[in-house]
Symmetry: C2
């Protein structure tokens, strides 16, 4: 039986709070950078469904045939193979084949919606259904800003991005490996990263997946924060695991995936498919492959622990025919996302999509053209958890300070967008037309005075002044304004209080773990 909810909604979501009226929204607006919007968005517009039932079934049948006739390899993880064997899959060495319908049956135990708890309960997020959660970009080795250009990320950069995320009212999640802190040994990074999320943010976050023991450490740190019993019953941490596409799951990922599931925590299962390389160059085929790979990964979590929360992920992209390079933010993955959204809803699983994709090396016109197309696709297709919602440049190789605040600003605009067009007597404004009449101005009308404070999204990055004022202020482009903006947000950042007992417990845990390790740099 598919459980629609495994626990109660944590808090009033953003939209409902805003609906509290003018004062509520004004309060939301007037927050400084240290303030918060709602903990997540409840969408007020339908998803954008582009494919017919008949064509969706054809994709599902193709995925079923890939699973039954070609199969998926599960390498170097005998325990995973054993779970598949007991579930009735056909095993041939490391190759696992699945009868049509078998994975769908297993997936019925996965919740359609669940709450990921934050250490500040007001920031807990509801993942699934009509809910939308924005999370920063993930995994870049480099960082960049206009002052110092591109360089490897450090733990200081990592902390800065956690602080910038925490300070934005338009993100809902602290993310995971916001950038790689390359000044910390590889085998110790996860400890410092998870600690930074807990220390500098009071939002929900993600743990490590780069080795089973690092996944376990991440979950153990969450247990220090939330208590062992609470963690056993509730989701408090996510782990983002990637398929080694095409059709291969490696042990690093399956053992981490199983560690999260075992602890009743949510794995995010993500095939990374660059069409023409790890999948076919045709969109429908790449989507069918993605569906097959995700279903297998999600089902494995249910074999490990039936009922564990899990998120249906995807990451489709294309390549340039001229340069042979990967491309991001192009039209094929954008329109493909709409189909992925339909498929995820037919499986009744929460959906993860990627947000603000681009290959641009600067926070320029290309970056926001590609990023906006990609991010709009994510919200329109019904994604519940949007990773890479802020900061992404250079095909995920760099986190940009300027792009980060541009993107969080756009996330704010999307709060308004997802609220749709509201219909009631006040919104329809017939009285205002009676008051103003033909040829007159609405500026001073009662209706305008009663509504203007909640009326329009107002960007912190866009310059809407006239040309002369803009010129007098220095003729700056958006990147220069974003450069000023992130510095101000960082300077104004206020650390959320953390129970000293928990802080000491975490430091003690990290100290003991590190004492038992030799530094490893690969």
């Amino acid at each position: 039986m598919n459980t629609d909810t495994i626990d109660m909604p944590a808090t009033e979501p953003a939209r409902r709070r805003e609906r509290g009226g003018r004062n509520a929204r004004r309060e939301l607006r007037s927050h400084g950078p240290e303030g918060h919007g709602g903990p997540y968005i409840v969408r007020n517009i339908p998803t954008y469904d582009i494919l017919s039932e008949e064509n969706l079934v054809r994709i599902e049948e193709t995925a079923d045939r890939i699973l039954a006739e070609i199969g998926i390899e599960f390498r170097d993880d005998p325990a995973a193979l054993d779970l598949w064997r007991r579930a009735g899959a056909r095993i041939d060495g490391v190759l696992v084949r699945f009868e049509p319908g078998m994975l769908r049956e297993i997936l019925k135990s996965a919740p359609a919606e669940f709450t990921q708890h934050a250490r500040n309960p007001a920031n807990s997020v509801r993942i699934g259904g009509n809910n939308v959660v924005f999370s920063p970009a993930y995994g870049s080795p480099f960082v960049m800003d206009l002052d110092k250009g591109r360089r490897y990320g450090t733990i200081e950069d990592f902390r800065n991005f956690v602080k910038l995320a925490q300070a934005s009212p338009w993100l809902h999640h602290s993310g995971g490996t916001i950038c790689e802190p390359v000044d910390v040994p590889v085998n110790k990074r996860h400890l410092d990263m998870v600690y930074s999320h807990i220390k500098y943010s009071d939002r929900a976050f993600m743990g490590s997946v780069t080795a089973e023991e690092r996944a376990e450490d991440s979950i153990d740190m969450a247990r220090i924060v939330f208590g062992r019993d609470f963690v056993e019953q509730n989701c408090v941490i996510l782990g983002n695991v990637n398929v080694n596409s095409p059709l291969v799951w490696d042990a690093t990922m399956t053992t981490s995936l199983r560690a999260y599931a075992r602890a009743n925590q949510a794995a995010v299962v993500v095939p990374f498919i660059l069409g023409g390389a790890m999948g076919p160059v045709t969109n429908a085929g790449a989507i069918a492959q993605s569906l097959a790979e995700t279903m297998a990964g999600c089902a494995l979590t249910q074999l490990e622990r039936p009922g564990a929360p899990v998120i249906f992920g995807n990451f489709l992209s294309s390549m340039s025919l001229r340069s042979g390079s990967p491309t991001f933010g192009t039209p094929e993955p954008a329109i493909g996302s709409m189909v992925v959204g339909q498929l995820a809803r037919r499986l009744k699983l929460p959906l993860r999509c990627s947000g603000n994709f681009t290959t641009s090396k600067l926070p320029d016109a290309q970056a926001m053209n590609e990023g906006t197309m990609s991010m709009l696709a994510a919200v329109q297709c019904g994604a519940n958890f949007i990773l890479h919602a802020a900061g992404f440049l250079d095909g995920l190789l760099s986190m940009s300070y300027e792009k980060f605040v541009m993107d969080t600003d756009f996330c704010g605009a999307l709060h308004t967008y997802l609220d749709g067009v509201k219909i009631d007597d006040n919104q329809l404004a017939l009285e205002a037309f009676r008051e103003v009449g033909p040829g007159n101005h609405f500026f001073g009308s009662q209706h305008t005075l009663a509504n203007y404070e909640t009326a329009f999204w107002d960007s912190e990055i866009a310059d809407n002044e006239n040309y002369e004022k803009w010129e007098a202020a220095g003729s700056h482009d958006a990147a220069v304004r974003a450069n000023r903006r992130w510095k101000k947000v960082l300077a104004d950042y206020v650390e959320p209080p953390l129970d000293p007992g928990i802080d000491d417990g975490l430091k003690d845990f990290i100290g003991r773990k590190k004492a038992g390790m030799q530094d490893s740099w690969y």
Copy 2:
């Protein structure tokens, strides 16, 4: 009776041509800047409908009450008032009120779809239904580029933009007042502008609306090109007329609108509503107002000449609460467009929306964030004729050479986007999975070789190279690449042949007209 079509489709549209397979699309791709894509797009994805029937009816009822209880002024055009009187409207001075349902009844004679013929028949466009036509921006007094900054537009700039539009395979229409040629006297501009469209482009175009006699001159010039009898039976020119919102039609616009309709040519009827100024600050109210104003204008064309083609237009925007300035490319008009699209389809009228809106003063991240959001809304909401698809900066005050080629490139991406996700055996690629198998690469597969040339959109502006190659090439942003691009496109431009007899006829007409005028500069 609503006429679904008033004539036959002119030519094979873009999508169908592309469907001709690999060679057809490669041919499309391999065209140089002097080449063409398809003459227009036939969308292969549904529109994005966000509002319920019940809420759409509430908006329509509000529009009906505005029309019946408040009314619309038709100033200084006794002939228009006379048409309304004979149609049964209630007249009180210049104020006209309409019984609910009256305008809908009149609008039944307007065609749901029509062809606008181009002087090159291969470029004729079908407006309405599932067809999408991209047209350049319209009406800026200034032009700008990275080399010379902002200055007033000249007739040379005007010709340059006509050439850049003609050279793009991704636009379908030559537009109208692409920029104001301020070096030409105001009362003579329309002659030089219409001549430039005919001389330097062989696509469909728009005429003047700034005075009734200028509208007549524009149509007379079209008669020289197409022949008087052909123009009497077929649409060959559009005129974009604006409502003086709220709820006022001025004589300049209604006399021009009636001139186009009288000649069986298409008026594009566009309320310009900046919420809080020319309309209420609430989105639903502004949409209801827009519907009321457009219905009145469209219906007037049908009173002037039943069956004349007409386009349902809209231009909604918001304002900044901080600066009091107009804003463009914001989320409220983007999501509002989806509702406008639903309303236009319920009236069975072709829809015009605006494309690439922004208040940015540079072709930067803000420009493409706002522009992309706005342009995607236009294509998703089902707009058939998208004005301002390329070049728009600074709240329509400037045409930018760099932004123009960025936008035409994005128009190319939207050809792929609107083609959707195709489902057939080749696209589903099951054979490719059989060939490649788990863990292997698709690069050299038969399926990739057979499909890669048609596989992915490849931008001419985006840089997808790796960071090191990009750095070695000069670390340029998209604006610098666009600067190079427009210069190359302009240098490579090839003038389409024009019958010398027609050219002489036009020059003779213009000479005679100008000889009878004193220069006027306002």
